[in-house]
Symmetry: D2
Subunit: 347 residues, 4 copies
């Protein structure tokens, strides 16, 4: 029997955990019951901000607490598998930060465990819950762009260097999630180049190209070592094209009535001339709700209804698989890696 | 004996030729003697704008004219080799549009011919004559950036689709020339991905990664199929970083006192923590002279003094070699191509 | 009887004159017959660029030349009246740079003279021949904005300080011309503030407010002393709003489906609440032709057909009248100046 | 005797109140003891977010509570005077939202009451606690700009229409506070124009010019009816100029080494020519701390030390006086209003 107000335990109150706690606290049918963190300073901050929330330095206390219904895990990726598996085995629904796990094998094991127990397994790929990404999906799925030709993303800034994941797992994964959600295609091959400029640290910049059987091509440029923050995506179709700049205060998403057409006029055929079409630009109004609040709502709704989250375990698995392939290619100086085609189909 | 006012013949009055004619016309010790073009309409425009300039539809007339000292060639690349070779054999100094030739073997033959006859061979890589690129070179060469880590360029827009060269030869060549001039290093390997979305046309987008022995890495993203025009370069060094956006009306070049430093503090070593340094930004005043006028002046000066142009035949050769390697890699879906190291050294 | 190719004489080859000559030279049914300038250096440049054009240091030679049909005057404003009057008396059609004259009385005398002789009198208010301004007029006249509420322009940069006109006559006049052409209303009062920071020079910054009987209000902020160049206009209507930034490389004109509506719901009346409507943004494709070429074409067409130019003498007169009123208010520290209502009606 | 942890009562949990509560909650030596609001819904939100904070719908309960040391008032301006006076009479220190009061007479009465009782009276002019404004003050006060010539601000957006204050009191007051803090001069006259487009509402756009005896001039353009949000300030000096755009994610503040110099060369005197100087641009690193947290800290420090806040009652009084004068001028269609010179001197 489901509680009227779900009790959520949050493990990890570092960089992202405070955002989870703040958003879960805005829900009316869920609340943050306990926060666990190894750092007592972090727990003092929790206590000052949320005097009614319990705190602990022992994540297992939280996982074992029978009052807790769901566990949100916002810890370094190396701990994702063991904490999530323990939570599932304790019968808790799980919210897991991206990337889901260090390996695709671990991801598969979590999916199976959640499946077996009928528990909700939600991976926090926040981008697919943003207004502009939802609008892009609508436009692409409605065929407004014509045949889609390419996706090109630049996602760079100075820091934060991670010590446990490379820049692909940290930043490119956002583009992988947008690609999966918006286009519903899965790449068949990947080629990547990248470098770690500081010995002993993960790769801090990478250029990844994804090849698709449909002729679509995607490129992702990520870096922790850029002097300016850039978050810009170009999408090209035969009928329309899109730019998305999430750093703009307004008009983040723009749709261009621009394109190229091949001349079929026999008189001009020896020119092999391409024609350009340049029309209006249109910036649709998009939902500006905080994505994490939308996603928190979705998580609790899925727990209550038993529906699969949009970013479920399979979604998270595909992301880990892409990170693995891109990283392998990067370490092979761009060697093309072919992706398995027998994974669960993209939605 | 050199004439007081050099007579220049210009072959090709299509897209770029009018700019050559307009800039040569501003020099006081050179003038445009004849313009050749296959298209009589183009020659009518020349006649209206420059009533004192001769026109012809036969390029060989121009090349053979004993009154002409130098020939500027702004025709499709397929004709570069034969026209330039004919001009050199007729004893003319040559200004040749980029890319120099279709193959590096042709480029080598032109270099040898010019060398043998003591003629100036100038390849029009206009970017190296712009104020911001000169300033970048000064900063890099003076060591202001510290050790240089990466170069990252995005050069995209809608059109113009070329029918005789792919987007690498059309656009990426600009970045290759900036890399050569600013950093004075030559890549040892290249990996590229790209696609032609319209059958029968050259590749219209490409992503190229250049690897250097020093650990430096360069990435170039070019496209004829983007809804917006972008011309932006990021350069990262251990001490300072640069952004260059040639489309800005002012402050095109910005230098950031930003960087990353590895902690060597033993107490923090288990953190493997990276420190960030964020300081001021500085936009130096740069020379805004029209690059093509500076370059025209340089060409005539080199003819008079016998000095090698900055963008001489060897420079042009290295560019063709890179275009060949990047195109080969692209057609091999990113296969790494190793570059010969025995070419003439970069300046 | 009209010549097949009209002969135009241009007086003044300083800042703007070269643009006039370059554009007249592109017309097929007109040509630049003679250029006059007091500066022999300027005439040398003309001779180098246009060997077939005659040059003279004596403007009266040009004005008296029976081969010349029309005279374009691009000299300091203090000479506009006498040169234009001489040209009209010599039976020439006249193109006169803005501002038309130093005083509205002089402007009226030129209008009368041109009228009497059946000659075309064209004032060069270039902005009304640009694509974006034409599009704004279309939108406003079609009622797409609803009731228009305000116009707000910022037009500032560093220099060029003029010595013969203040910043209102130099820069604000562009906004006055756009206001007249787009809205077809004439202000009934004007209030201005401004200052000359350098003794002995004209006012170098000014803030002008124009009041209209319809409730519409316009504000113009002009300066020669700003560190950056800004050219931005906001227009507000009850249904839609416009931004125009002429410095953008594309999407200069944007139309916002945004507005405000007063609640008429009696239940909310004690709140006196205002509702906001935020919809899509739309950037229409606009004609990017060089305005001066369009205007040159229009001038020659008007000479041939006898039609009144869009920016005819009456248009120029209204502009001079506004400059006079705004300058008078500025010198009275913002004192409101009421404008005569009996001038020729705005189109 | 001062409590170790000060107890603050906050009146008003509407638009701004939540920000006050959130920032006071981050202090370690103060806490939010009680929140009062007429709206029970608002109090429910407080209870959910801050379970340890008391709530009440009766502001007088809060004011009379002997456990409370300081009262922060974030209510409509019409209630400022009576609530603040009641709080001072109850012996509480007071934090009062801007504008301080409806009239300068009310402001003076509050200053006198606080003075008499030795209580801290702090007016929330948040801008003077931001990093960029502090940096501007440093630059101006150090003489880096040379003689300051002008200040020009544009502060417009769509909404929020206020029903109790006009756009001058809502938005221009921010510029008045920046002018006072940065330049330390008080204007001697003000001229304003403005309009209310919706009957029964306060003026929704206004253009205000402030005149200073030193020759400095300031202009402020504010509107609730603009399609885009703009927050941009230009400052000109004889040596350097500044731009400040608070909406930029970085490089909000830029300093231009640009200026104008009058020729004193006798040979050029008949030209009356002005020379332009264009040098580098420099964007200093500025403190990005949340201003409201800095200001909260300052308020508590002033209570503890007895020091006057930067934005004390006198500061707030000068702001109200300017709002009154500008509003009077606006209602007189730009009539110049002279300001009293016998007010307490600007710091």
């Amino acid at each position: 029997m489901m509680r009227d107000v779900l009790n959520i335990g949050v493990i990890g109150y570092g960089y992202w955990g405070p955002n989870l706690v703040r958003n879960f606290a805005e829900l009316t049918d869920a609340r943050v019951h306990t926060v666990a963190d190894l750092n007592p300073k972090a727990l003092e901050t929790v206590a000052r901000r949320y005097p009614a929330t319990k705190v602990t330095t022992d994540a297992m206390d939280l996982i074992r607490d029978p009052e807790i219904d769901a566990v949100a895990i916002a810890t370094p990726v190396a701990t994702h598998f063991s904490l999530a598996m323990a939570a599932l085995k304790a019968g808790k629904h799980v919210w897991l930060e991206k990337p889901m796990t260090e390996t695709s094998m671990q991801a598969r094991a979590l999916i199976d465990e959640a499946e077996k127990r009928g528990l909700t397994l939600h991976i926090d790929h926040t981008f697919v819950y943003t207004g502009p990404v939802k609008k892009m999906r609508e436009l692409v799925r409605a065929g407004d762009l014509g045949k889609v030709l390419y996706f090109d993303s630049m996602r760079v800034n100075l820091g934060l260097f991670q010590r446990d994941v490379n820049v692909i797992a940290d930043l490119a994964v956002h583009d992988f999630s947008i690609l999966d959600y918006v286009f519903g295609q899965h790449p068949t091959a990947v080629s990547a180049a990248g470098i770690n400029h500081y010995p002993g640290t993960p790769e801090n910049l990478a250029y990844i190209t994804l090849f698709y059987d449909s002729g679509f091509i995607a490129h992702v440029n990520v870096s922790w070592l850029a002097p300016v923050k850039l978050r810009s995506i170009l999408i090209g179709g035969t009928e329309k094209m899109i730019t998305f700049d999430e750093l703009q205060p307004s008009e983040k998403l723009k749709i261009y009535d621009k394109g190229v057409s091949m001349t079929t006029d026999p008189a001009k055929i020896h020119d092999m001339r391409v024609g350009y079409r340049t029309g209006d630009m249109w910036a649709p109004k998009v939902d500006n709700s905080e994505a994490l609040l939308v996603e928190s709502r979705h998580f609790v709704d899925c727990i209550r209804s038993g529906a699969k989250p949009i970013s479920d375990g399979e979604f998270g698995f595909r992301m880990v698989e892409l990170i693995e392939a891109a990283t392998a290619s990067m370490r092979g100086r761009g060697e093309t890696i072919h992706l398995p085609s027998n994974h669960n189909k993209t939605k």
